[in-house]
C-alpha cells in the first residue's frame, strides 16, 4: 500500500467512525420540500422579474457605453516587425496530471510534441527558454527546446518551498517554511549564493528587486525585507503583512501557471499586485513597506479575472472571462480607464441572467483567459463558463474588438508565442491544444492527457 492509499484508508476509517451508515434523510427532506412547493412559481417569477428589470437597465447602459463592435473579415495579429525569441521560447508547455505525477508536454508551432518532462514544473524563465521544478534537494532546470534536464542546482533541503525568479531571470529565490529560510540562487553561476534564517513565520512568496538582487522580500503573514550585498543576506525590516492584499503575493500556486499577478515598476520601489479574491489592485511602497494606493475593479466572482501585464510594465489588463469585461489600469498614474466588453461566451440573455443568480463560488488560482501579443498590440481573450465563445481579438491601441476566431468553440486558456507568430489555445475540456497561426488559421490540434489544465507561462507574460 503506497502512502496515498494509506492516507486514504486512514481517512475512510476515521470519518466512517464519525458518520456511521448514511441515515434515512429523504423522509425529513420531503417534509421540508412541501411548504416550499406552492411558493416556487411565485418566487421564480419574482426573481425573474427582478433580474429582468436589472438586466434591462444594466444591459442598456452596457450596450450603449461599452459593447465593442466587431468588424467582419479576416484579421492578422502577426507583428509588423519580426521578433527574435530565444531557443525554445516559442514552444508551449502544458501541464497534465497523471497517476505517476505531473507531466509537462512541449508543443511547437507545427503541433509537434517536442518533449515531455515528468516533474512538477513551477516556473518558466522570463525569456521562455527554461523551465524550473523545485525538489527537496534543489532546483531542476529543463530546456524549453525539448524538455531535457540541463542540470540540478543543490539547495539546503526543505519541506515545501515557494520559488520566484527575478524579472531578468538571473536570480531565483526559494522561501521555505521548514526550515524557515530564504535561499538565493544565481542561475548564471549555477549555484546558491546566499541563505538566511528569517525566523517564523516566513513562509510566503519571494520577490527579488534590483539588477544585482539588492533586495529580496518575502510576502506572507509577515512582509520581510532582506538586503543582499553580493555575498550575504541580512534582515532589514519586517512588518505584519495583514495590511497587504491576499495576505501576501499570489504566485499562482503549485503549477497553476496562470502567470504572475504582480510586478515591480521601473522605479524599483513600487510593487503592483492584483488580488484575485476581491479584484483589488494595490500599489505597495517597497521602501516603507506600506500601501500607497488601491483600486478595486470589482468582479462577478472571485478568481474570474485574469491579470495580464503589458510588456513595458506600465499597463495592467484585467480580463473577466465570465463577463468579458476588460479593465485597463494605468500603473504609472495609478488610475483605472474605462472598462470595455471584449469577449464572452456566445450572447445568451438567459445565461447572462443566470450569471446574476449564481451563488458566488469559492475558487482559487489565477486563470489564463487572456494573453497579450509580444508586440503589445493585441489581446487574445477567451469567453467563459465553458460555453462556445471563441477567441476575441482586441486591438489594444483603441481597445476595439477586431475579430473572433473559433467562434463555435468553448475555450479555456490562451498563450501567444514569444515571436508572436503562433497562438496556442486550450479547449474548455482540457483535452486538446489548438495551434493557430497569427491569421487565425488552425495548424494543428494536439490531443493531450485528460487532466491537462494550463500553460506554464514565462514570468514576464
Amino acid at each position: 500500500m503506497n502512502q496515498e492509499e494509506s492516507l486514504r484508508a486512514e481517512i475512510h476509517q476515521t470519518l466512517d467512525a464519525i458518520g456511521g451508515p448514511t441515515p434515512a434523510l429523504l423522509p425529513a427532506i420531503s417534509v421540508r420540500l412541501r411548504p416550499v412547493s406552492p411558493r416556487r412559481p411565485l418566487v421564480a417569477f419574482g426573481r425573474l422579474a427582478a433580474a429582468l428589470a436589472i438586466a434591462l437597465v444594466v444591459g442598456t447602459v452596457v450596450f450603449s457605453m461599452h459593447r465593442a463592435r466587431i468588424s467582419p473579415g479576416p484579421v492578422s495579429t502577426s507583428p509588423t516587425n519580426p521578433i527574435s525569441a530565444g531557443p525554445g521560447a516559442n514552444i508551449a508547455w502544458v501541464t497534465s496530471q497523471t497517476i505517476h505525477g505531473d507531466t509537462v508536454t512541449g508543443v511547437d508551432g507545427t503541433g509537434r510534441v517536442v518533449g515531455r518532462i515528468n516533474a512538477p514544473v513551477e516556473l518558466r524563465s522570463p525569456d521562455g527558454t527554461h523551465l524550473y521544478a523545485i525538489v527537496n534537494s534543489g532546483i531542476d532546470i529543463f530546456s524549453a527546446i525539448d524538455g531535457h534536464k540541463e542540470r540540478t542546482i543543490p539547495l539546503i533541503a526543505f519541506d515545501t518551498g515557494v520559488p520566484m525568479l527575478s524579472s531578468d531571470g538571473r536570480y531565483l529565490a526559494v522561501s521555505s517554511g521548514s526550515p524557515a529560510m530564504l535561499q538565493l540562487v544565481d542561475l548564471t553561476l549555477g549555484r546558491a549564493i546566499a541563505s538566511i534564517d528569517v525566523g517564523v513565520p516566513t513562509f510566503g512568496t519571494p520577490l527579488i528587486v534590483g539588477a544585482q538582487a539588492q533586495h529580496v522580500y518575502i510576502f506572507g503573514q509577515t512582509v520581510v525585507k532582506l538586503a543582499f550585498d553580493g555575498s550575504t543576506l541580512h534582515l532589514e525590516q519586517r512588518v505584519n503583512g495583514s495590511a497587504f492584499p491576499c495576505a501576501g503575493l499570489v504566485a499562482g500556486g503549485v503549477n497553476s501557471a496562470g502567470g504572475l499577478a504582480f510586478r515591480v515598476l521601473a522605479d524599483n520601489r513600487t510593487l503592483v499586485a492584483f488580488c484575485p479574491m476581491d479584484g483589488r489592485v494595490t500599489w505597495y511602497d517597497l521602501e516603507g513597506l506600506t500601501v500607497k494606493h488601491e483600486i478595486v475593479v470589482g468582479q462577478q466572482n472571485p478568481f474570474w479575472v485574469t491579470p495580464v501585464f503589458a510588456a513595458d510594465g506600465n499597463t495592467l489588463y484585467l480580463h473577466e472571462s465570465g463577463t468579458g469585461a476588460l479593465h485597463v489600469i494605468d500603473l504609472v498614474h495609478e488610475t483605472a480607464g474605462k472598462s470595455t466588453k471584449v469577449a464572452m461566451a456566445r450572447w445568451n440573455f438567459l445565461s447572462w441572467l443566470g450569471s446574476l443568480l449564481v451563488t458566488p463560488a469559492y475558487a482559487g488560482g489565477i486563470p489564463r483567459s487572456a494573453a497579450v501579443s509580444p508586440d503589445g498590440n493585441w489581446l487574445y481573450a477567451v469567453g467563459g463558463f465553458g460555453a462556445p465563445g471563441g477567441l476575441s481579438l482586441v486591438h489594444l491601441p483603441d481597445a476595439t474588438v477586431r475579430g473572433r476566431w473559433l467562434a463555435d468553440q468553448a475555450l479555456d486558456s490562451v498563450l501567444a508565442s514569444a515571436d508572436g507568430r503562433t497562438v496556442y489555445v486550450l479547449t474548455a475540456s482540457g483535452k486538446e491544444l489548438l495551434v493557430l497561426r497569427a491569421d487565425g488559421s488552425q495548424l494543428a490540434k494536439v490531443a493531450l492527457p485528460a487532466n491537462t489544465y494550463g500553460f506554464i507561462v514565462p514570468t514576464s507574460s
Binding site: Q13, L15, G19, T22, L25, I29, V43, T160, L357, A361
Partner: protein, 176 residues
C-alpha cells in the same frame, strides 16, 4: 463523471414534481452526507447540512444548467452549506471541544483523533478538496466543479492539504 440528470426528470422537477426531485436526489444523499461528515465531523450537523442543502437545491433548480451534471452541482451546494454551518458562532463553541462524548469506540484511537484534529486544522477549502478526494474518492476534475475552482487551484489545494495534513499528523504523533 456520469451523473447528468435525465432531462425529463429535471424538467418534471422544475415544474414542481417532488417525486422527480427526490428521485434525482436519492443517489446523491450518501455522498452528500459523507461530504458533510468530513467537513463538519459531526453526525447531526451533517444531517442538518444535507437537509438544508436539499431544500436549497429544490429552490434553485432553475440554476441547474441544461445537461449539467447534477452530482457536482448538488455537492457544491452541500459544501456551501457546510461553510455556512462552520461560520456560525455556535460552531466556534463546539469547535473548542476537542473530544465529544458520543463517538464510536474505534474513533477513540489516538491515531483517529490525531487525524481528525489534523483535518480540522486545514482551512475550509483545503479540507473540502481533501475530503472529496480521499473520502468520496472523486476525480480532481469533478472536485473542481464542486469547489467552483480551476483544476490547477484544486490540485494545488490538495497538494498543500496533504503536506499540511502529513506535517500536522506527524507532529501530533511525535508529541504523543
Amino acid at each position: 463523471m456520469e451523473h447528468a440528470a435525465d432531462p425529463d426528470v429535471v424538467q418534471d422537477a422544475r415544474r414542481g414534481s417532488e417525486a422527480a426531485f427526490t428521485s434525482m436526489l436519492q443517489p446523491l444523499l450518501e455522498p452528500a452526507y459523507r461530504l458533510a461528515v468530513g467537513m463538519l465531523q459531526d453526525r447531526s450537523l451533517a444531517e442538518d447540512a444535507v437537509q438544508e442543502a436539499a431544500v436549497k437545491a429544490w429552490r434553485r433548480l432553475d440554476q441547474l444548467r441544461e445537461g449539467a451534471e447534477i452530482r457536482p452541482w448538488f455537492l457544491g451546494i452541500v459544501a456551501n452549506e457546510c461553510r455556512t454551518t462552520r461560520r456560525g458562532r455556535w460552531w466556534q463553541v463546539l469547535k473548542t471541544d476537542p473530544v465529544r462524548t458520543a463517538q464510536a469506540p474505534e474513533e477513540q484511537s489516538a491515531q483517529g483523533i490525531d487525524l481528525r484534529n489534523a483535518l480540522k486544522r486545514l482551512n475550509q477549502e483545503q479540507r473540502l478538496v481533501v475530503v472529496l478526494y480521499f473520502y468520496l474518492d472523486l476525480p480532481l476534475q469533478e472536485i473542481a466543479g464542486i469547489a467552483g475552482a480551476s483544476y490547477a487551484a484544486v490540485r494545488g489545494r490538495l497538494y498543500r492539504g496533504i503536506r499540511e495534513l502529513k506535517a500536522d499528523f506527524a507532529m501530533s504523533e511525535a508529541e504523543g
